[in-house]
């Protein structure tokens, strides 16, 4: 038997590095958005459209790293009654319904602290979560959740940004057990115009410092942006664009599946 931690780690690595050609598409979806019960259908639709892995956002009232689209989606999800425990229940339901690709939960520290980091890690692993990314938890503070995650076999994803020096990127690679998330520009999610795209340069620097899969995110909405990262990123995370699509029509699962297919070309 492999230990459960290397299980999640291997699943994530295989999913993200299995593509060969152009980068894998990793959708970011908000649990409980647009409606509380849309999560399971959207997860299955994302898998059906060929996603390698899904990042599932758990809403927080004060998301410092998110732009207007994801802020509004999180606010709506909270108003719909979403909680960490509910989201984990929905993930469990999705697993029972045939959702098999890796799932990484992306959120902020305070809701997890409130539940208790150990309890969260245990319940998440038990519900079928493979990894966790906590946006406001810097490398220096990773210890507490790192221990809990390791104990329950959850992978940890760390973030690096264009402002991160090489020595810190190396540290981010050492602390991560899933993949390293590279933020393409200084800014918040969804901001494609405010600042320059520094993604390719960051990916080149990150590749020198770690062997883990590299996912690039923030501001990606088109197939040509995905193609331009071929050979640089293992995966491209797409959030605000998909959330906009999910929020528009009457069938969010279908809207998300179509948008993912479009991004995959």
């Amino acid at each position: 038997m492999t230990d459960p931690r290397s299980g999640s780690q291997a699943r994530i690595r295989q999913a993200l590095q299995g593509g060969g050609g152009s980068p894998q598409v990793v959708p970011y979806l908000m649990a409980g958005f647009p409606h509380l019960d849309d999560t399971v259908g959207m997860l299955l639709a994302a898998q059906g459209a060929g996603s390698a892995l899904v990042e599932l956002g758990l809403p927080y009232s004060d998301p410092l790293a998110d732009g207007p689209v994801i802020q509004a989606a999180g606010q709506r999800s909270l108003m719909n009654g979403m909680t960490v425990a509910r989201a984990l229940g929905q993930i469990r339901t999705a697993r029972a319904a045939g959702f098999t690709i890796p799932l990484v939960v992306m959120t902020y520290l305070n809701p997890l602290l409130r539940m208790g980091l150990g309890d969260f890690a245990g319940q998440a692993a038990d519900s079928g979560v493979d990894g966790v990314l906590v946006t406001d938890l810097p490398l220096e503070e990773m210890g507490a959740i790192g221990e809990a995650a390791a104990h329950y076999g959850l992978a940890i994803t760390t973030m690096v940004a264009p402002t991160t020096p090489d020595s810190r990127i190396r540290r981010a690679g050492e602390l991560a057990t899933g993949f390293v998330y590279c933020v393409s520009r200084t800014g918040v999610t969804g901001s494609s115009a405010a600042t320059a795209d520094e993604g390719p340069e960051l990916l080149r620097r990150a590749r020198m410092q770690t062997d883990l899969p590299l996912a690039l995110g923030f501001g990606v909405r088109r197939r040509d942006q995905v193609l331009a990262l071929t050979g640089l990123a293992d995966a491209v995370a797409v959030g605000s664009f998909l959330i906009e699509r999910a929020g528009e029509g009457s069938d969010p699962a279908r809207a998300v599946a179509e948008a993912i297919s479009q991004l995959r070309g």
Binding site: N110, L113, L139, T163, T164, V183, T195
Partner: protein
């Protein structure tokens, strides 16, 4: 007064920790900038020419030292002596300028070309806009649309001074949301922008940096009490929003164990969720805006809306050093509600001819009800003046 504008400079706490509180919980993009800020602030505060420039600005531009005033008629009303540290007389009308001037000099030293700030009551936005005009730097102030409505005069002043005031419509449209939006701007423009946070909150090194810049209040007040009252105060009282005026005045007396330190939180209209701003009294430990402290949150760790008649206390968090002083018992924290603060606002106006800020009015109410055991003097931080609050007070009076 010896050395007006003198600060109490300490080493920053390791990793920004005050016991279990503090730290730095922010997106990776700004982590390197916070590291630089720690180093730059340490070097500036160890540089005599930086300190000299700051203290001459504090004296000649801002009007320090501010007086320590024996409030005779208020004392007679209370039945024991009450002294007021007159931060309301500082240029721009509140203690906030002590911090803004220091951080602007620091921003210039770091070569930053642009300033962002958040504001609640508008006093910190006004102070930052003023310091930016003085140093010729562009300034963007984020302010909740609810606060823009209730603090219209300060908005007009900031615009006169050349600042851009950005309305924030998310969440509760008050200080919490303005702070989040200012941090998002900083995350986006971190390479050329300095974020001037307005209180002893936020990620390390801000709680330490703002405390150091506000310590001028406590350093002066201690000397003034010894010189004018002939003794230390039995008790020091200050209102606590994020906690900068309180830490500023407390810092002068922390090493005097016989001086009781009393912080006053906003009781708003009641103890229920969303009705107050009393993070230490009615909140629980958590992480907000980059620091671990006490905050008002629901059972799922979502931050609650808040209410206070005073915009500057209408905030769900509190500085980590206060959370620590509360847990060690060195300072105690109590709650004063809207109605009590409004009554104190009128009382001080009538008895002393001083119209206090609604924030400071909370401290006034607490002070007159807290007779020290030895009957000794009580020192109140009168953090600001009440001109900005006239609309609110007149509306409240009409509503009663």
């Amino acid at each position: 007064m010896k050395d007006p504008g003198r600060l109490l400079v300490t080493d920053p706490p390791a990793l920004g920790r005050y016991g279990d509180f503090g730290g730095s919980y922010v997106p990776e993009t700004v982590v390197p900038a916070l590291g630089e800020l720690v180093e730059e602030a340490k070097s500036a505060l160890a540089d005599q020419s930086f300190l000299d420039e700051l203290s001459s600005l504090l004296r000649d531009y801002a009007g320090r030292p501010t007086p320590c005033y024996f409030a005779a008629r208020l004392s007679e009303h209370a039945g024991f002596p009450i002294w007021l540290k007159r931060e309301d007389l500082l240029h721009t009308g509140a203690h906030k300028l002590n911090n803004a001037l220091g951080q602007l000099l620091l921003a210039r030293r770091m070569g930053k070309h642009r300033i962002v700030a958040e504001t609640g009551a508008g006093q910190h936005g006004l102070a930052t806009a003023t310091a930016c005009a003085l140093l010729g730097l562009p300034c963007v102030v984020y302010m909740g649309s609810e606060d823009i409505r209730r603090q219209a005069v300060n908005v007009a002043k900031m615009r006169l001074l050349g600042a851009t005031v950005e309305a924030v419509d998310s969440g509760s449209r008050t200080l919490k949301d303005a702070t989040s939006e200012a941090i998002r701007d900083w995350v986006t423009n971190v390479r050329d922008t300095h974020y001037v946070i307005g209180s002893v909150v936020g990620p390390h090194p801000y709680p330490w940096l703002v405390r150091t810049l506000q310590s001028v209040i406590g350093v002066e007040a201690r000397q003034q009490m010894l010189a004018q009252a002939g003794r230390l105060p039995a008790q020091v009282v200050a209102c606590v929003g994020g906690g900068s005026n309180a830490i500023g005045i407390f810092s002068g007396f922390l090493d005097d164990p016989e001086v009781r330190l009393l912080g006053v939180e906003a009781g708003g209209r009641g103890a229920g969720p969303g009705e107050n701003g009393a993070s230490l009294n009615l909140g629980s430990p958590g992480v907000l805006h980059g620091a671990s402290s006490f905050l008002l949150q629901d059972q799922d760790g979502q931050v609650l809306p808040t209410h206070s008649v005073s915009a500057g206390l209408d905030y769900p968090g509190v500085g980590p050093e206060h959370a620590w002083l509360n847990s060690t018992g060195r300072a105690t924290y109590c709650v004063v509600d809207d109605r009590q603060a409004l009554a104190a606002f009128h009382l001080l106006s009538r008895l002393e001819g001083i119209i206090p800020a609604l924030e400071s009015s909370h401290a006034i109410h607490q002070a007159i009800g807290s007779r020290p055991d030895d009957g000794g003097p009580v020192l109140v931080c009168l953090s600001g003046r009440g001109d900005k609050d006239l609309d609110t007070v007149l509306t409240e009076a009409a509503g009663d």
